[in-house]
């Protein structure tokens, strides 16, 4: 994974509460066996008409939001299914961060493991960001992972929370699996002390 430190990008507003992962990437696109090509299907049901043509008024189809790097979603973003295809699709659609007032647990964890930053801000900042994005699509924000801040065009910086371990991994471009693999001896010791009752391979 590429290390993430700081980036600047434009906003795309999608101020809808409880955006579930079935909207981010509908289940019929989950028959893939890799992570590629999901960007085109991101928000498919909101983005395309029945004949496959783009819905002109949907934010991802509007010319002024092309190339936006930060999606500003509503409260409780990413609820529903555990599909990691959701952050894969958002990354595929060009996003590096999602800003919301609240993220669903599994989505937050999945996003962090893929370098898509879940940036949680207070309701007032969120309102400002939505109006900013709607009024001036060229406005940019800077997300700084090291400092855990998002900086608005007026220069104001707002902090966002992120667990220290995920932050460390993202800043250094290492994935979490490496850490677990390094615990091999401790795991073996645990297994020796806790033999467990279930054996799926027994018949």
């Amino acid at each position: 994974m590429e290390p993430i430190t700081t980036f600047t990008g434009r906003l795309a507003p999608l101020p809808i509460n409880d955006i579930d992962t079935d909207q981010i990437i509908p289940a019929r696109y989950l028959k893939v066996t890799d992570k590629n090509g999901l960007g085109a299907a991101c928000f498919s049901d909101w983005r395309y008409n029945a004949d496959g043509s783009p819905k002109a008024d949907f934010v991802l189809n509007r010319s002024e939001y092309q190339g936006a790097a930060v999606l500003v979603g509503g409260h409780n973003f990413g609820c529903g299914s555990s599909r990691e295809h959701a952050p894969w699709a958002l990354l595929g659609a060009g996003f590096k961060a999602v800003i919301s007032t609240y993220f669903a647990d599994i989505f937050r964890g999945n996003a962090l493991k893929n370098g898509l930053l879940p940036v949680q801000v207070d309701a007032e900042t969120h309102r400002q960001l939505i109006s900013l994005a709607e009024e001036d699509p060229s406005a940019q924000v800077t997300v700084n992972l090291e400092a855990q801040t998002v900086t608005l065009p007026d220069g104001r910086s707002v902090e966002f929370p992120i667990d220290p371990f995920s932050r460390y991994c993202l800043l250094n471009g290492v994935d979490q699996l490496g850490f677990l693999l390094g615990l091999d001896e401790q795991v073996a010791e645990f297994e020796r002390l806790h033999p467990g009752r279930v054996q799926t391979t027994a018949s």
């Binding site: 101020p15 809808i16 509460n17 409880d18 579930d20 079935d22 909207q23 509908p26 289940a27 019929r28 989950l30 028959k31 893939v32 066996t33 890799d34 992570k35 049901d45 029945a50 509503g74 409260h75 409780n76 609820c79 529903g80 299914s81 555990s82 599909r83 990691e84 609240y102 669903a104 647990d105 599994i106 964890g109 999945n110 493991k113 893929n114 667990d163 220290p164 371990f165 460390y168 994935d175 979490q176 699996l177 850490f179 677990l180 693999l181 615990l183 091999d184 401790q186 795991v187 645990f190 297994e191 806790h194 467990g196 009752r197 279930v198 054996q199 799926t200 391979t201 027994a202």
Partner: protein, 478 residues
């Protein structure tokens, strides 16, 4: 439970602490050992790819089980007894699953074989799911297994790779919420109605960051199937896991199943399981209380499981809501559902009735629905699908003749799988159609692009199928 001087603990704390390979530290989450890892075809391929790229093997194939359920067809078998897979992408995904399980030595319940089924149905059915275990799967409804007093939750595909390679997960400790349901359910009101009422009360994000423990007289009185229905939908309230303390109902269910402990091992297990329930005096971070006596059959009217109400109620009015974003959300939902504020749902025509999914596709669900359907006909113009949760459920239902009851009524009797719960396999609503469904999600397009879902219990679904309009099952019970 009393604690003989030790600090009192909740069921969750006991299971959590027993599985810590390494405690949570200021800079690192806790490392949790996983007893059982269930794997299905949709959320695992990319995890196996990662293992191959890194030259890793599966640490404990003997703690891992594969099944096929999400993208599998549930159409009847052909003359050769095969379930044909006509969707090329689904067929390729199933082949990848076969290859992955074979290459890494993981036992697999292949499509159509006698134990195959929905991942959350087969675990308990085979006796893999036991009290006090940690259980994960790349699937948010893994919370189902918490009904046994296990800590069970859904994970993403990166975490699937973590567990395959190390049998461990990095987890920050969640908070606990007691969900107490006092009193007794009236006839016609079921476990499904309890959980829909809980979610309507707390909202779909209300449980985020928590593990629920369901308790109280009404929970104790439920069968294991009912408890699974409730734990299954914990995630629809935002909680990754829901648990019920194990008791004799639990032990009687587990006893004698193929992978349950036997003989002396059973006695030893039982002694340990009896220490699991929350100690007297243990505290929770939060609590919500419901009165089962006051519950009626529930139904959802909107596009998330928190938008639920008593079946006799009227659809709420966005203009009555103070919060602007909630108003917008309800307005958007009602437009998608094409419903009017203040409208009754009773008497509304539906096109499809779906009985199935990991929420309500177990033998008791099918028995209850069949009792309703027996001697009656599915209304003209209504398509009814009955999809057993597993091949074992299907075989049991057929041994009891339930399939004949459904078929005689005009319903479709299917092979086991997720089917119209997720609409990946061709079983789907057409745009604009209405369905009463016993599944767990009514998100836009969940059961097919443009389809509209009312979530309800198997009883409400069966009553609705017969009348062709949304029906309070209590009206048909005497």
């Amino acid at each position: 439970m009393t604690t003989n001087g030790n600090p009192p603990k909740t069921l969750f704390e006991k299971v959590w602490e027993k599985h810590l390979v390494r405690p949570q530290m200021p800079d690192t989450p806790a490392v949790l050992y996983i007893d059982l890892h269930l794997v299905h075809e949709v959320t695992s391929p990319q995890a196996f790819t990662l293992l191959r790229e890194r030259g890793l093997k599966v640490r404990r194939p003997d703690r891992t089980l594969g099944t096929m359920d999400h993208s599998t067809p549930t159409t009847p078998r052909n003359a050769a007894g095969i379930i044909p897979v006509t969707d090329a992408m689904a067929a390729a995904q199933l082949d990848v699953m076969r290859k992955n399980c074979a290459d890494f030595g993981i036992p697999l319940y292949d499509l159509g074989t006698s134990n195959q089924g929905i991942v959350h149905v087969i675990g308990p059915e085979q006796g893999f799911t036991q009290p006090g275990m940690t259980i994960v799967c790349g699937d948010s409804h893994t919370s189902t297994h918490g009904a046994f007093g296990a800590l069970a939750f859904g994970i993403g595909t990166s975490e699937v790779a973590h567990v395959l390679a190390t049998q461990c997960l990095l987890q920050n400790r969640p908070q606990t919420m007691a969900v107490r349901v006092d009193g007794r359910l009236h006839p016609g009101v079921t476990a499904k109605d309890i959980i829909l009422a809980v979610i309507a009360k707390i909202g779909i994000g209300g449980g985020t960051g928590y593990v629920f423990e369901y308790m109280g007289e009404a929970i104790r009185a439920l069968s294991m199937e009912g408890r699974m229905t409730i734990c299954n939908m914990s995630i629809e309230g935002g909680a990754r896991a829901g648990m019920v303390a194990p008791d004799d109902t639990t032990f009687n269910y587990v006893a004698g199943r193929p992978y349950a402990p036997k003989g002396a091992a059973w006695e030893q297990a039982l002694a340990e399981w009896r220490t699991l329930p929350t100690d007297d005096g243990a505290t929770f971070d939060n609590e919500v209380v419901l009165d089962a006596n006051a519950l009626t059959p529930m139904i959802t009217y909107g596009t998330n499981p928190g938008m639920g109400m008593p079946i006799t109620a009227n659809v709420p009015d966005p203009d009555q809501l103070r919060d602007v974003s909630q108003k917008l959300a309800l307005d958007k939902a009602l437009r998608y559902m094409d419903l009017q504020p203040g409208q009754k749902l009773l008497g509304k025509r539906v096109d499809v009735v779906f009985i199935g999914s990991c929420t309500n596709s177990r033998i008791s669900d099918l028995r209850e629905a069949a009792k309703f359907i027996q001697g009656r006909k599915v209304a003209d113009g209504v398509r009814m699908l009955v999809v057993p949760g597993s091949q074992q459920v299907k075989a049991q239902a057929e041994a009891e003749g339930l399939h004949e009851i459904f078929k005689a009524a005009g319903a479709e009797w299917r092979e086991a799988g997720c089917s119209m719960c997720i609409a990946m396999n061709g079983d789907q609503l057409q745009p604009g159609q209405y369905a009463v469904s016993t599944s767990n999600r009514n998100f836009e397009g969940r059961q097919g692009k443009g389809g509209r879902t009312f979530l309800a219990s198997p009883l409400t679904a069966a009553a609705t199928a017969i009348n062709g309009v949304i029906t309070d099952p209590r009206e048909m019970m005497n």
